[in-house]
């Protein structure tokens, strides 16, 4: 359960977002430049809201009146970036293990094996990110975020940098993830078809503000 109520001014662009995320996939849907990425950055702790409150599963991540601002590294919020952001100096195996290592979790070969199988990345483990295709990179980025055992997963336009053939190749992995785990996810996208396929709840963002909240019927208007 996620509850977001934040204000943030960036130059002359004002974000005022208030919405709830339930279990399953909640889409933040809106055109490019509508402030979607800024909103998920605030949930992750990479951008500090001017005012507001962010709560995940009863744990307050940010509250301006109570002066609570948990740093990004202690929020346990997984983040899959549009551009993957794999560490270029580490092998895929080390990339996958990074979050577990930094979060101080015990090694869990079973979790690793199941994520590797879910995303079909076993043959990539010894390679480095530079030798991977765009689709492979996004699968590894997803695996890396999952293996830190997040309580919430933010997917920020994870398919936007891929061509349509690659998108069709990757989307089934997200669906599998949605169906096989109970992990709540926020899926950011400007692509209605993509959102229809993955999400059940839609939060419409326009000009930095939430303009509608509901089901996939919001996508057609």
């Amino acid at each position: 359960m996620l509850s977001v109520d934040v204000d943030k001014t960036l130059g002359d662009f004002a974000i005022q977002a208030q919405f709830e995320g339930r279990s399953g996939v909640t889409a933040l849907f809106g055109p490019s430049g509508s402030g979607k990425t800024s909103i998920v950055s605030m949930i992750a702790g990479l951008l500090r809201p001017d005012r507001g409150r962010i709560v995940v599963d009863g744990d307050t991540l940010f509250d301006s009146t109570a002066e609570i601002d948990q740093p990004a590294h202690s929020r346990r919020v997984g983040y899959v970036f549009q551009d993957g952001r794999l560490f270029p100096h580490l092998t895929i195996a080390r990339n996958l293990d990074y979050g577990r290592w930094m979060s101080g979790l015990a090694a869990d070969p079973k979790a690793l094996a199941s994520v590797v199988e879910l995303l079909d990345i076993g043959h990539l483990l010894k390679r480095r990110p530079g030798a991977l295709s765009g689709g492979e990179r996004q699968r590894v980025a997803l695996g890396r975020a999952l293996l830190m055992q997040p309580r919430l997963l933010l997917l920020d336009e994870p398919l936007a940098s891929l061509d349509s053939a690659r998108k069709r190749e990757i989307l089934p992995y997200f669906e599998k993830l949605r169906d096989e785990t109970k992990l709540p996810m926020i899926y950011v996208s400007h692509d209605a078809a993509e959102v229809r396929q993955i999400a059940s709840r839609v939060v419409r963002i326009d000009g930095g503000k939430v303009t509608a909240t509901g089901g996939v019927e919001l996508l057609s208007t």
Binding site: H73, R85, L86, P88, M102, R128
Partner: protein
């Protein structure tokens, strides 16, 4: 003609020791300051930056004289440093200090540029994966800045090896203690018939500088390949 005398070996060995110690000791400080300048905003940053770069623009003799005032036996810090057993004046340690100070701007400059070139988005990614600031620096920023750190260290080593003005002003030109290759060459050119010996040392200096460049190129290439993820 090509026989190297014990005095010459002494000057060569001393130069290598002085330059190595100067580089090794200043490297951690150089990395810390470069990171601070590349990634942080704080009051007095412009001043700190100016102070670090000062030895690059001051006449070396002036830097040497300032070191004498600060770290000489009767200097501002020299007195109480001597009380705890650290003496710089007329010692090889003083030569290392002078070389370290003279090379510091080059060291910090190269490392700062390479840290600024590290994609901060990767640091953000590390934070979302649970890495605090210190771990992010150790596991992401510094490994990715490694080619620049190596280049900076080699540049500093070469600069330290060739340092002359500040060293001779601060700790004089004592054979076996503070007489580095540069000072030895200078001395030989001042005595009649010293040219042949001076030329020999010049040759040795060229070989050492060349070797340093080749080693740095090799390390840089390896680190560069890693950084680009192939």
């Amino acid at each position: 003609m090509f026989e190297v005398t014990p005095q010459e070996w002494t000057a060569v060995a001393l130069s290598l020791r002085v330059a190595s110690v100067a580089t090794a000791v200043s490297l951690p400080f150089g990395i810390a300051l470069a990171w601070l300048l590349a990634r942080k905003q704080f009051p007095g940053k412009a001043l700190l930056n100016a102070v670090i770069y000062l030895p690059l623009v001051l006449p070396p003799v002036v830097t040497g004289y300032l070191l004498l005032i600060a770290f000489g036996r009767r200097g501002i810090f020299g007195g109480w440093l001597a009380d705890i057993g650290i003496v710089f004046s007329f010692r090889w340690t003083g030569a290392a200090l002078a070389c370290g100070v003279m090379a510091f701007p080059l060291l910090v400059g190269a490392i700062r540029l390479s840290i600024e070139a590290v994609d901060r988005k990767l640091e953000d990614a590390a934070a979302t994966l649970g890495a605090n600031r210190a771990w992010t620096v150790l596991t992401v920023t510094l490994p990715l800045a490694m080619p620049g750190i190596i280049a900076g260290a080699v540049l500093a080593f070469a600069r330290a090896l060739g340092e002359f003005g500040a060293t001779i002003t601060f700790v004089s030109n004592i054979p076996g203690e503070t007489q580095t290759i540069s000072a030895a060459i200078y001395t030989l050119t001042q005595v009649p018939g010293g040219d042949a010996q001076a030329l020999k040392l010049v040759g040795i200096a060229v070989v050492i500088a060349f070797a340093a460049l080749i080693v740095s190129e090799w390390f840089g290439r390896r680190a560069g390949a890693r950084v680009h993820g192939v």
